[in-house]
């Protein structure tokens, strides 16, 4: 078991290094802001003192390296700084400031809820469809699934979203077309309100996941040891359960996590369509207002989720690899 542990530790170390570099990149990009930025945020009427105070709040009077470590130190304690939106109101500066962490936390919870229910439906559905399509290769069912998924992949998310709104939101008003959730809602109402955004995301993700699963399984079934098992005369169920499946876990885990990572990005557009109060919509608003601390926090959260999901995929791949489990 020792070599496998070393491999995992190496991969975790690589993941941590990636995270650090990503944080440096996000931090450095913000340093490339144009020089008149304080003026743009505070408005033309800002006095010398407010500009100086604002620069101090941003820490612009310190060298960049010191600022990076300050930023990382506060981020690791959950403090993402102060939103710029309070600064535009010069009179109330100080009283009206909003902590970025307080803005992000409830929205992150909402996004995770939406992604969670989507994954619960999409993952089993996609795997079932993908595996059956691979086993019944080149049948009508397989071709239909192939054309349908290729079409869905090529559709922009908002196209699927508006078609669903047209049919289930306005023509046959079964589900609400705006997903206004609030924290006090009972669980089932929340699921009901989230139905259309979750359905949109499910359609998008099932198409991707199914194609990848199908390709993986087909690739697997073409391996010599499967043919060997067939020639030995083993029944199909044994071939699949005993020979194919142990080798399929790693690629399937990779497919699932890759698509969950894709979900993280897909969520942005869908949240905007359905006015769902999630972190994607927060980021889009922050980008159009150029509220940099919020953009920075959202980007860091998205990137960290992405990196962690990829890391998980690799670790599952290592753990379930039969060749690493039974070293010679």
């Amino acid at each position: 078991m020792v070599p496998i542990l070393v491999t995992i530790l190496k991969r975790v170390g690589l993941g941590i290094i990636t995270l650090i570099i990503v944080s440096v990149v996000i931090f450095t990009l913000v340093q490339m802001l144009p020089g008149d930025f304080t003026q743009a945020v505070l408005g033309q009427a800002a006095t010398e003192e407010t500009v100086a105070a604002f620069r101090k709040e941003l820490g612009l009077d310190k060298p960049a390296v010191a600022r990076y470590f300050d930023w990382i130190k506060s981020v690791s304690t959950g403090d993402f700084g102060t939103s710029f939106s309070g600064f535009s109101d010069i009179a109330a500066a100080g009283a009206d400031q909003r902590r970025v962490a307080d803005m992000v936390a409830p929205r992150l919870a909402n996004t995770l809820f939406l992604a969670g229910i989507t994954a619960l439906v999409a993952v089993p559905l996609a795997l079932t469809l993908g595996i059956t399509a691979a086993l019944k290769r080149n049948t009508f069912y397989d071709r239909l699934a192939s054309v349908a998924t290729l079409t869905t992949i090529a559709f922009p998310e908002f196209f699927i979203a508006y078609i669903l709104i047209l049919f289930f939101g306005t023509l046959y008003p079964i589900f609400p077309s705006l997903a206004n959730v609030d924290p006090n809602m009972p669980f089932l109402t929340r699921v009901y309100v989230c139905a259309l955004p979750a359905l949109t995301l499910t359609l998008v993700i099932v198409a991707h996941m199914m194609r990848m699963t199908r390709a993986t399984i087909i690739n697997l079934l073409a391996r010599p040891y499967i043919e060997m098992a067939k020639l030995k005369g083993e029944p199909p169920s044994t071939i699949i359960l005993k020979h194919a499946l142990p080798n399929a876990w790693a690629p399937i885990a990779t497919i699932i996590t890759l698509n969950l990572a894709y979900l993280v990005v897909g969520v942005v557009v869908v949240e905007v369509v359905f006015v769902y109060p999630g972190i994607g919509q927060l980021m889009v608003d922050a980008v159009s207002n150029r509220d940099i601390p919020v953009v920075q926090a959202c980007a860091l959260i998205f990137a960290a989720t992405y990196v962690l999901l990829n890391l998980t995929a690799d670790i599952i791949g290592i753990i379930t690899n039969p060749r690493l489990l039974h070293p010679k």
């Binding site: 990005v265 942005v268 905007v272 159009s288 998205f302």
Partner: protein
């Protein structure tokens, strides 16, 4: 685009020789005859779109930003698809949108390929510290989801068409780089490349004459797929209001601007379809390019299903 995968060295022999060798066009026609119906459909759609994009001013009944009409007119009656919330003809804007949306996506993909292919070839030939440096930089860029990265860059540099093209091109060039490098590494070690270098040919010549023609087929298919990704990313950004800015007509922002009409499906069903028109235009072209790319992949590489 179609000739590129007809990767040949025998063209010079061509017509002059007595042994009848098929010309480029004959071989193209044979491949086209064998093409599946989905690919034919895809090519027809792409040709139509290119035609519309080039002749947009001649085809559109009204101007791109001509808002001299009443707002929110219904379908028909001089305006095939009605007018939008500030009185611009939807049909004309759809036609002009072809030009803007496809043009920007095409330029972006081209730029991504120039960057990605160039660096990929350099990495494959060099294979030293430079290769390591570029490869690790690409790893970092790919560790952040592209749309999130683009959003962040746009918030810093502001959303203009130039920054949009550069940002998306740089982000997408990472995948082109990976593919080019992976394919080129196998070609660079071939004897004919070695022979060319021993002959004393320059690095640029070896890259253009020996390596590039041999890695062309997968790159052509990748170009089509990349174009789809770039197209969808730009459409998504425009839909979010952060991409192509008004008054330029663009499908992504048209969906956003007319989205409210969908609420009136029970009163005027046709009008409620208006936001779906630009979205469908996006969907149709990406489906078509995907179909063609699928076919290109099948004839150019071993990616087809074994039977």
């Amino acid at each position: 685009m179609n000739e590129n995968f007809q990767n040949d060295s025998a063209d010079a022999l061509g017509e002059a020789t007595f042994k009848t060798r098929r010309t480029r066009w004959q071989r193209l026609r044979i491949e086209l005859k064998k093409a599946p119906p989905t690919a034919i459909f895809g090519m027809l759609v792409i040709i139509t779109y290119i035609f519309v994009a080039i002749f947009a001013p001649l085809l559109a009944p009204y101007g791109e930003a001509d808002n001299s009409f009443a707002a929110l007119l219904p379908w028909g009656d001089g305006h095939l698809f009605g007018t939008d919330q500030i009185g611009r003809d939807i049909f004309s804007r759809l036609i002009y949108g072809t030009r803007n949306t496809m043009g920007i996506a095409f330029v972006t993909t081209l730029l991504a390929f120039v960057i990605g292919c160039g660096l990929g070839l350099i990495s494959a030939i060099n294979q030293s510290w430079l290769d390591q440096l570029i490869s690790r930089a690409v790893d970092v860029l790919m560790a952040i989801p592209a749309l999130i990265f683009a959003l962040m860059m746009l918030s810093i540099f502001g959303s203009s068409v130039t920054s949009l093209i550069i940002i998306i091109a740089v982000l997408d060039s990472t995948r082109v780089f990976r593919l080019t490098r992976a394919v080129a590494v196998g070609v660079v070690v071939m004897d004919y490349v070695e022979a060319a270098r021993l002959r004393g040919e320059g690095l640029g010549w070896v890259m253009r004459q020996e390596v590039l023609p041999n890695i062309m087929p997968p790159l052509v298919a990748e170009f089509a797929l990349r174009f789809c990704f770039v197209f969808l990313t730009i459409a998504a950004l425009s839909f979010l209001g952060l991409g192509i800015q008004p008054p330029a007509a663009d499908w992504g922002s048209m969906v956003r601007e007319t989205a409210n009409m969908i609420q009136f499906a029970n009163f005027d069903f046709k009008a409620s379809l208006t936001p779906l028109l630009p979205a469908a235009a996006i969907a149709l072209i990406t489906v078509s390019v995907n179909f063609v790319a699928d076919w290109l992949l099948q004839i150019s590489s071993g990616l087809r299903d074994e039977h």
